[in-house]
Amino acid sequence: MASSSSRPAPACEPVDDIVLSARDVAKSFGSVHALKTVNFGVYRGQVTTLFGENGAGKSTLMKILSGVIQPTSGEIVLEGEPVRFASTTDAQRLGISIIHQELSLAPNLSVRDNIFMGREIKGPTGIDYAEEARQTRALMEELDEPIDPLTPVEDLRLGQQQIVEIARALSVNSRILIMDEPTSALSATEVEVLFRVIRDLKSRGVSIVYISHHLEEALLITDHAVVLRDGVMTAYARRADIDLEWIVRNMVGENFDLGSPPTGHALGEVALSLEDVSVADTAVPERSVVDHLSLEVRAGEIVCIYGLMGAGRTELLECVAGRVPLSGGRVVLEGEDVSHLSIAERIAKGLVLVPEDRQRDGLVQTMSVGENLSLASIKAFTRWLLTSGSRERGVVDESIANVHIKTDGPRAEIGSLSGGNQQKVVIGKMLATHPRVVVLDEPSRGIDIGAKAEVFKLLAEGAAKQGLAVIFSTSEVGECLSIAHRIVVMSRGHIAAEFGADVSKEQIMAASGEAVVA
């Protein structure tokens, strides 16, 4: 790693070129250290890209720089002066704006009203709409996107909405613009427009911090590359000195061992078979987010589905579980068509889903650890209408022991557990129903690496000892190469490629479209 160093501000750059920097910034959430003493610099009038896998701390760092959260320790230096942001408004006043992955526009309001939301220009008779419209028009023309200021935002394409968001940031005289995954939902032409706007902003002296999972795309626009891993800055380099391979190597690092595919057991019959499955887009029913996809998984087999955001992974897994309806094809469980069964009926037949977002879809926050664990298997300890407390206790204790949940006991509040243990509760809850096929959507999302390894070990054991068929999805390449016997790469609703366990990270990334120029 000749071109990398653990700190920014390398000798070849004059120090005054850094407009905003984080010095020794650390952030902990309870006992979880999201950032560990990171030094990070934003270069004036240039694009600084932050690379890193999910959970590396990118978003935490950006939230600190834009005032959404405050660091546990360390300081932020703007133009050589230490500053403290109590809120995003504070940061905005000093010229720092963030454009989140999920746009924060009011879709029912016009472009003009969105741009001046919260700081309307007042005239003698209330809001001076004419002046606002004039300024909006000027801003949009500057960005080469002459949208009528009175157009409702919901009528705009996503790319245009993003430009409205940029216009809003510019209208408060932002000198530093943080963009979190701005291209994830854009078409190739929209990305081109965005890049043109970014180049234009650079020429006007605006400094940009850029985060993206599309590595090659980011390499097209960036001037500096910073890599974060596990809350630590692992590498910095100027664009001219690096290539794709350098980024991947630094992002992934020497892998923490997430296990290997279980061997020594014979794979059984086909447990789950997807035949020509299609799922329609909820927003645009003519479009398919999963497009005539077929896949078979055998008992005892572990299949990993890799794909970028929007590849259709979540939709595929949710339709398997019965959450979203099929628009075509069949889901066959152990020879039986379950396409028209409800979620509850599929669970009873042995097909369960561990959802992607455990806070939203996995846990009932108002219930205790034990109640959450027994929710899906409650019928198993019910006799003559009444549940048996002791039998429930047995189920719960068994689950806690089986999936190694660290808790004060079954009566502890679910919110008192760490992210990894909460995830184990969701997994334990579904395993308590004694399933034949387990489908997990990003089971490693937002949990620390030790917990990840435990979760994968659990799945590997289930496959080897009980002959479970396991499908899990991930957006981290490193996790594909852990316990999976087979790796299926999804892209735009299709299976783009299928690999054995001996595949390389580069091959997976190439197949997913991640390392292909947009």
Binding site: G30, G57, G231, I347, V364, S374, K406, D408, G409
Partner: protein, 384 residues
Amino acid sequence: MSKHSQAPARQGGGFDLGRILLEGRAFFALIAIIIIFSALSPVYFSTNNFLTMSSHVAIFGLLSIGMLLVILTGGIDLSVGSTLGLCGVVAGFLMQGVSFDMFGVTLYPPVWVVVILTCAVGAFIGAINGVLIAYFKVPAFVATLGLLYVARGVALLMTDGLTYNNLGGSPELGNTGFDWLGFNRLFGVPVGVLILAAVAIVTILALARTPFGRWVYSTGGNARAAELSGVPVKRVQVSVYVLSGICAAIAGLVLSSQLTSAGPTAGTTYELTAIAGVVIGGAALTGGRGNVRGTLLGAFVIGFLSDGLVIIGVSSYWQTVFTGAVIVLAVLLNSIQYGGRKKRVATPAEPKAPDNPSSPASSGNAARVTSEAESTAGKPATQH
């Protein structure tokens, strides 16, 4: 890890008077009400008065228990007052005898048939509510507001605005015994109070010991997660409105029996009193939190407060003011209690970042998270 370690973790800062007062607020409020009114009036503190007040409470208590089930799933049922009125009228109508002009006969159904038919009417109204809400995605507030008007309108249409007065039945027709439902006493206790007790016990059992109860709590706590865990969320939603309708029907029977008359305007605004009882009992209007014990206490607080104000001769206008103040105070305390919990949930939700690999955390680690979370919850008052 053991179950024993939980108690110290929960206590956090040892003996916390504020917390005890907060958690048992409905109980302490009831005690305070009884002490204050006993001091102000010599008649208040007597068995007979308590039984009289309790028979008033029975009506609100029955409505509140039905309402609790609905609120636990995160819904609301504004139609219970009207359902009570309509069911009373239906019972009165049946007691007068149903005449079939075509055959020239009049049928006088016995009381048990009247009771079943009346409950069926309540269940039917609840079913309409539930289906509208669960399957047609009508907001609960709007659907039940609509049924509030419809049920009241039907009650007025059936009676032309008049009241059925002779509910006693006659021995030769074989339909006596209606007054037994609320007017009479059994072992010296008003039957309405016994009915409330029975409904309460069944509901307590259902909530604590049946899958249905768990489904109700999980639907209100997080319907998405419940559905993915195989909970029949839509059926649960329909069921709670049906049960709420049945509770309202029972309340209607008890009330018309107590009054020995059934008027079409009976139970007007009772839905709000029922909601107040649930809220004072500590249930969260967002769903998932609450219990029968608290709800009963809430109903008793409202009933004993308003009856007490009548006994000491405070004007009924002031009664309204006091009741309103108690409700606002209760909601305020609820948001203090649950506001702290929200923060607690939010904290572990954040860590997107990996911990150090050594963190297959010791159980001590997990315990620390708990106590930290508890201590933030312990001082929620500063947030408001």
